[in-house]
């Protein structure tokens, strides 16, 4: 996987985790889970954001603001953000070294 994409996916997962703790933290704490490390996780998020190319980070933020999630998985040759068909050529080896975007909605594509 493209290293920048790996970082974006990790960042998006981390943002989801922070949001979940903020929204459902008390439910998790009732089950016995500790969430004391939330500030550390937020710091780790900022650190990871700093490692990502600023231009890509800017796009990631814009897409997150617009759609909620900037990176979406491709399932069954479709972008799961807008359900547009993704051309088979997108998964060729020549494209493995760069970020790829849905031609319809612009979201960043991820092949799980």
């Amino acid at each position: 996987m493209h290293p920048q994409l790996q970082q974006l996916v990790a960042l998006q997962d981390m943002m989801g985790m922070i949001r979940e703790i903020e929204e459902k933290g008390s439910e998790l704490e009732d089950m016995g889970f500790k969430t004391a490390g939330l500030d550390d996780l937020k710091n780790a998020r900022e650190e990871l954001e700093g490692k990502i190319d600023p231009q890509v980070m800017g796009l990631f933020r814009r897409l997150t603001g617009k759609f909620g999630r900037a990176v979406v998985p491709v399932i069954g040759n479709s972008c799961t953000g807008c359900f547009a068909l993704i051309p088979a050529s997108f998964v060729s080896k020549t494209n493995a070294g760069r970020l790829q975007y849905c031609e319809s909605c612009g979201r960043i594509l991820y092949w799980p």
């Binding site: 996987m1 500790k34 799980p112």
Partner: protein, 153 residues
């Protein structure tokens, strides 16, 4: 949600009867490796990073000798549960300081809107509070016996 519903999200391919790791970092890697081969995951590092982030919030070893590593990631399309056992025990930073012998790893996609995995997590935690059950799980010969014990059969 009852335990039979929860067990629909696992399979014999997602059962590790004897973990070899004895420290937390290696155990997480072994669990992710089990998920990766059991589910044919293309990008296991994504799951590894997510579980490591989750542990940085606080250890998920919240039961007596039991851990419930969990979280959401783009790497999976449906809730999946890996069950694992360690006879040696793993130092998983448990609350009571004791070794962790049983692991229930819950991985859900971000779009699990009904918080199905949190409900599954709650059901699992409730189900394994009984000491006798934990003994049965440690003694179970195989995946089928492990599931039967969880279901109280």
């Amino acid at each position: 949600m009852d335990i039979a519903d929860v067990l629909k999200h696992t399979s014999s391919e997602l059962f590790l009867p004897d973990l070899q790791a004895t420290d937390k970092e290696s155990a997480i890697q072994e669990l992710v490796s089990g998920l990766s081969s059991g589910m044919n995951i293309q990008n296991p590092d994504t799951i590894l990073q997510m579980l490591q982030s989750r542990e940085s919030l606080g250890s998920t070893a919240v039961g007596p000798g039991i851990a419930f590593p969990h979280g959401r990631t783009l790497a999976v399309q449906q809730l999946s549960i890996l069950m694992a056992r360690s006879t040696k025990g793993v130092d998983f930073d448990s609350e009571d300081g004791g070794p962790t012998h049983l692991f229930f790893v819950l991985i859900a996609p971000p779009q699990d809107m009904g918080h199905q995995y949190i409900k599954s997590l709650a059901t699992l935690i409730d189900s394994v509070q009984d000491t006798d059950l934990r003994d049965k799980l440690m003694a179970a010969d195989n995946y089928e016996a492990f599931c039967a014990a969880l279901k109280g059969e």
